[in-house]
Subunit: 205 residues, 2 copies
């Protein structure tokens, strides 16, 4: 099998998703860590050799480079039970993964990054001004998840899929971004069910 | 074949993507139009029957509802030549589609919506404050596309894929958001090639 190398910052939920998916499908990943806060993904070498976009994660497959966390998860999971066989359910799984990148990650992950890792005192004025909007949008995302999970066990179809793993990554640490999960009991039950899976991997493993 | 109904606002590039994909694969779509600016996607009926997230597009497949533009495009295109057969190229196609939703659409599509449809005078103070950041991020997205297309004809693999159609939607109207495309000649060549395809459908068709 082609060697798999994950270029990552271990604190990033987007990187964790890929490790979690790899654990579920039994893929072995080598890991190379970069400190985002120290600018290690903006060096000329990183931009030239890993990702001209200056972002992690990037999954390296032999010499091929695959940025974007959810695309990397897809690559690892395709052909496994994590990707539903039914065409509509497969598209519905992707629907939640696109929704994650548009409506969940930019709010919940960004506030976690700003408040837990950058520190409120170090934020720019524009970042500080964006907090209330991101707080409201992140809460709306959690409400939508909770409502969806009120009548279903998993996000897409009737089994655990990649959508659940991708959404688990930042939802289970949302409190680090100042979000309260207590008002969302269906989300809580769903998080517990994912973490109870025999193949589960915790974020700081 | 199951009836396909697109819940859309015809001015939205996210809705156009789906019509463009349908034209490429020869799928027949019925269309139902909603005026976003008049709040027609926030009515109790829309929230209850079409999408609790209050957003279009939603692709309705018989009685099944599929929000998220790129997921709807995937549903229509799977099994067609728009979805590459090679596993890495397929994941790389999805990589550009996730990138579109995270790094391109929130900047280029949002500025087009604010400046062309809402009108600068009607923006909130927070929206106005967000313009310079979105301008810079949108330009960075165009630069990344242009750099990628400097050495390749299409975004993923060596043939037109769904990634090209999904990125075409808002890139070809970026000037309506105040972006200049002249500095990005590779993007210009790529847009021309997509529009020259025999199955192409223009946005206001």
């Amino acid at each position: 099998m082609t060697a798999l190398l994950l270029h990552e910052d271990p604190r990033s939920g987007n990187c964790y998703k890929i490790r979690l998916t790899a654990a579920h499908v039994g893929a072995r990943l080598e890991r190379r860590a970069y400190d985002i806060l120290a600018g290690e993904t903006r060096t000329p070498a990183f931009l030239a050799e890993v990702n001209p976009d200056g972002r992690i994660p990037v999954l390296q497959i032999g010499t091929l480079l695959l940025p974007e966390s959810n695309a990397a998860c897809w690559y690892l999971a395709e052909g496994s039970p994590l990707v539903p066989a039914d065409p509509f359910t497969r598209a519905d799984m992707l629907r939640w993964m696109f929704w994650e990148q548009y409506s969940h990650e930019p709010n919940i992950a960004t506030l976690r990054f700003w408040l837990r890792f950058v520190g409120e005192a170090m934020l720019t004025e524009n970042q500080r001004a964006a907090i209330p909007g991101k707080r409201a949008a992140g809460e709306a995302a959690l409400r939508l998840l909770d409502r969806h999970l009120a009548t279903r066990e998993w996000l897409a179809g009737d089994a655990l899929s990649l959508a659940d793993l991708c959404l688990f990554a930042y939802t289970h640490v949302a409190e680090e971004g100042g979000f309260h999960l207590a008002p969302f009991p269906n989300v809580g039950r769903w998080l517990t069910a994912i973490a109870a899976h025999p193949a589960h991997l915790v974020m700081d493993a």
